[in-house]
Symmetry: C2
């Protein structure tokens, strides 16, 4: 295969297999090309990925040597995206009764979801995450987006047990904002013990839901390495039960009467 064709094929391979270690001989055989040619190809791919601010190739030498694509959104790219997101969310038409914000259109847009996931995954890139955990329903697409960049599975905590998942562990917890007792369930075979976990959700008010997930994950001896949310509300900051987390945006000053909201960058670039 010619270099030009190899470059297209290699680009596709890396984008489809983030964080996966591949040996140079694999490519030599696949493309029937000398290792030295493949090495030159990799230099080109790495350079373009870095220039576009979307990641880089990590090469390791020696017998077990090879290459791995690390997706990484540059700070410039992610800051630009977060500012764009703030502007989109400040639309007063989004204010719902009760001071909630309509975000389903954003969470329903696969391209936006992909970008949000990439920003969060970039922040957690060095944490050696084994699995991404979320709670049904709204956090699910974001969790998959993060997991797909980190190349790890997703586990979904449910509020109701399902017959199709076998025996499960459940906990009761008190919701932060509504002060109601709620239940969370995780099938026994969905998570191995001592896993390094990243919790992802769409929205955090007082943090009761995330706190509940943490308690449930304790039952599996999991290590919660990171917590990432798309948006946090600042009106219950004083009562917040979760301290270590990352948010893309922060919703402040929701004024239902005057139909006004302010959305600012969250903890990540705040």
């Amino acid at each position: 295969m010619k270099r030009s064709d190899r470059l297209v094929s290699l680009s596709h391979y890396f984008l489809e297999n983030p964080k996966q270690h591949t040996s140079l001989p694999f490519f030599s055989e696949r493309y029937q090309a000398a290792k030295s040619s493949i090495s030159e190809d990799l230099v080109i791919v790495d350079r373009v990925l870095r220039e576009e601010g979307i990641g880089y190739l990590q090469t390791s030498a020696g017998a077990a040597g090879g290459v791995k694509y690390i997706p990484y959104l540059s700070e410039k790219n992610s800051t630009a995206f977060i500012h764009e997101l703030c502007k989109t969310l400040e639309d007063p038409e989004r204010i719902l009764p009760g001071g909630y914000l309509y975000m389903s259109d954003i969470l329903g847009n696969p391209k936006m979801v992909k970008l949000i996931g990439r920003v969060l995954a970039s922040a957690f890139s060095d944490l050696d995450i084994d699995v991404v955990v979320t709670v049904a329903t709204k956090g699910i697409p974001l969790a998959y987006s993060v997991a797909s960049v980190l190349n790890v599975p997703v586990v979904i905590v449910r509020r109701d047990p399902k017959v199709t998942e076998g025996s499960s562990v459940s906990i009761n917890y008190v919701s932060g904002s509504s002060r109601k007792i709620q239940t969370m369930v995780l099938p026994k075979r969905s998570l191995q013990e001592n896993a390094n976990v990243c919790i992802i959700d769409d929205f955090m008010k007082a943090g009761g839901t995330i706190n509940g997930m943490t308690s449930l994950l304790n039952e599996f001896d999991a290590n919660v390495k990171a917590i990432g949310v798309l948006a946090e509300a600042d009106d219950e900051e004083d009562e917040r039960v979760v301290e270590e987390y990352t948010s893309l945006v922060k919703i402040t000053n929701v004024d239902i009467k005057r139909k006004n909201i302010e959305v600012i960058p969250g903890k990540l670039h705040g």
Copy 2:
């Protein structure tokens, strides 16, 4: 920018923007290259995509001319994947009480979900779909995977209304297998009238859930153009209330006593 660099950048651009029309002048300006050079690049990218069986570039001439990446898994690739999937699902350890099959590990694997989505999206590639609709919870990752290939949004039908979504339309329906009355809800502003819809779900028994979704979508004057599921069970085929659909695999002969299952290719390549 040199051709080699352009090829990496172009490959990335197309894979990130499936089914999106882009004009040639956009690339000329982006890469500071002549239109003729860009055209030659596109020939190379198109050739490699076709050779690898993952799609092709669709070019249109004239004033509004440009190029669009159509992801399309070749029949060879998708048949191989479906056979692999059947083997994975035939593991007797998957049998759960009640004759259900444990599939959460597959649905929790972003790479598998991406491939399943690609197979389904390839089948619906020509249908001019505007939106992918699914019902919470298990179908959600598959729906996003299909939608991301088709470059359209996802709308999630819920079983319980949420305060964060504004006013909604709801229907009651009778579940096919349990014969219970159930509810489905869709926020009013989540779907425009007369949309071309593709319904995606993980599993179909008698089809009551999908039938319920169809009724709810009627309230929005939507046109259900396609129905795609990962797996169908054949034990209730006689009572099936949905006729036109596509499935990747079909689960037959679940023998709980002897711990035996048979999984065969579904309607798509059956």
